[in-house]
Every structure is written in C-alpha cells, then in structure tokens.
C-alpha cells in the first residue's frame, strides 16, 4: 500500500520528465520506452517459477491477471479478442487515472498517464516472444482500454 504512493509519485515525475519540454508535449515515445524497458525486465522476475505458456492467449491472460495484479493490485475487468491477434483489455478503474477528476479538460491529459503502461505491456510481451503494438483509449476517466495488436511476420 505505501509503496504505491512512492510509485505513483515516481510515475508522475517520469511523466513530467518526458513531456516537460514544450516541443515534446505530444511525443509519448520516451515515456512509452521507459515503460517498455521496465516491462521487459520485470516479466523475467514474474515468470521465473512459471512453466512456459502454451500459446498466445495464455500469455495475454497472464498479463491480465498476475502481471496486472502485481503492479496495479487488481486484475483487469475485461479481456476480449477477435482470435486474430487483436486483444482489448479493459480496466474500469485504472490506477493512474483514479486520482484525476473526470471532465473534458482532464480527458485531454489522459494519454500522459497511460503511455508508460502501454510500453510496460509491450515490453513484457516482447520478452515472452510476442511483438506487438499497444495503444490505449480513454473515454471516461478512470476507465481505460488497452488495445494489443500482435504483429505477425
């Protein structure tokens, strides 16, 4: 519980660091990349004692359950897939958005608070052998949908 506040503060500062510069205002790539490298390393720790996943769906399920729980202290609320490499993960109370009041003005700011997590998921999957593109969609704070598109080639 108390470590969450430290992490939340650190996350807020990382967002500031990456976007402070006015010409970087809408460039989330650094923020996403910090998430990517974190996810890439973290997944090694989390999967250390777990048998190999048998397929892609099982891997994604792990992200929605254990991975999410260890970071955000809750599971995701919903997972959908078209069975062709598109997954939609929904979190109805995404932690980095729960302390923000809802409203159109705040909604504009939402991408700042989800970019790190997009990278986190992409990094975790990448180290499990799945190349993907992860984007996020926020329609009403604090709910967030993450779209995972697996690249096949």
């Amino acid at each position: 519980m108390t470590e969450e506040i430290v992490f939340d503060c650190l996350h807020a500062e990382i967002v500031n660091y990456c976007l402070d510069d006015s010409n970087k205002e809408n460039d989330f790539s650094t923020l996403e990349y910090i998430g990517f490298t974190t996810g890439y390393r973290l997944i090694e720790r989390l999967t250390r004692d777990i048998p190999r996943f048998k397929d892609e769906l099982e891997t994604i399920k792990f992200i929605c359950t254990d991975f999410w729980t260890s970071i955000y202290k809750k599971q995701v609320d919903n997972l959908r897939t078209n069975n062709q490499g598109m997954y939609v993960v929904q979190d109805k109370a995404f932690r980095f958005l729960t302390r923000i009041s809802s409203g159109p003005k705040q909604l504009q700011q939402a991408p700042k608070f989800v970019a790190f997590t997009c990278g986190l998921v992409r990094g975790a999957l990448s180290n499990l052998g799945i190349n993907s593109t992860v984007t996020a969609e926020v329609q009403t704070i604090p709910a967030c949908r993450f779209h995972i598109e697996v690249s096949r080639n």
């Binding site: 470590e3 506040i5 503060c9 974190t38 390393r41 004692d49 260890s70 970071i71």
Partner: protein
Amino acid sequence: RAPPRNSEFLTLTYGALVTQMLRDLENVEDVNKQLERIGYNMGMRLIEDFLARTSVPRCMEMRETADRIQQAFRIYLNVQPAITNWSTASDEFSLQFETNPLTEFVELPPDLNNLRYCAIITGCIRGALEMVQLEVQCWFVQDQLKGDNVTELRVKFIRRLEDAIPAGED
C-alpha cells in the same frame, strides 16, 4: 507461488528512468541534477502522506528528525537504516543502509563513477524537510555501488526556514 516483492517494480522503473536520462543528457552531472530534482519534487508530496499517516508532532531537534526519517524509510522503502555518526553539535548524522532497494540488480559500469545513482533519495529528504521548514544538506559518503561495504547518507542541518517572509526578502 510467492508473489514477487512490490519493490522490484519500483526498482526496475527507476532503473529504466536513470538509463533513459543517461541516454538523453550529455553529462553525468546533469543526470545527477535531474534525479535530485525529481526526488525533491517527490519528497514535497510524500511528506504530506507521511504526516497524514503518522500524525507525528513537529520535530524540535535533529535527533527527532533523524528518527522520523528512519521511520519514513521503513514505511516507504521497507528498509531500516541505522542512525550513526552524530556530530558533536548534534546537527549532522548519518543513515547507514545494509541494503538499498533502489540498487537491487544494479551495477555501475566504471565510466559512470560520477553518477549518483540514488540522488533521488537525497533530493527526497531535502524536499520533504523543506516542507516542514528545515533546510538540510544531504549527500552520500559511502555507496555500495562504488564498492563500499555499506551505503551511508549524511544529513546536515543548515537552518530553520521562517514562515511568512515575503518573496525576495529573505
């Protein structure tokens, strides 16, 4: 299956940030400054949480402050540094860490000998204490990342900040 310790996520995220800064900024001194600044900002916010959580009264002297800082480390990083090496005037002390959760899985390459990897911690202490009207200096005298046996953080009292001084008249 034992759940991984929470601090690992913090540790790895911090590591990713430091790595990114080293990539972004040209020299290590700038990285140190940025980390210190980030810590300072975090400290200013964390002190609110700390005071709300512990409801401790104002510290009247540095020995109490030292105890509070030790308590904060226990709460926020789950480590208990030892308080040692008091100066004779009781205005300066050390916090000694056997382990430092922020530096788990970390090794510094030799060319980064000037990097103060944990500058975020010194910044945090300064920021937090400034919010309770204490100006201190804070620096590392020993660092396990640089080959020392323990990590030692020095805190020195500078002055008490007075309330209600209009801007520009201090």
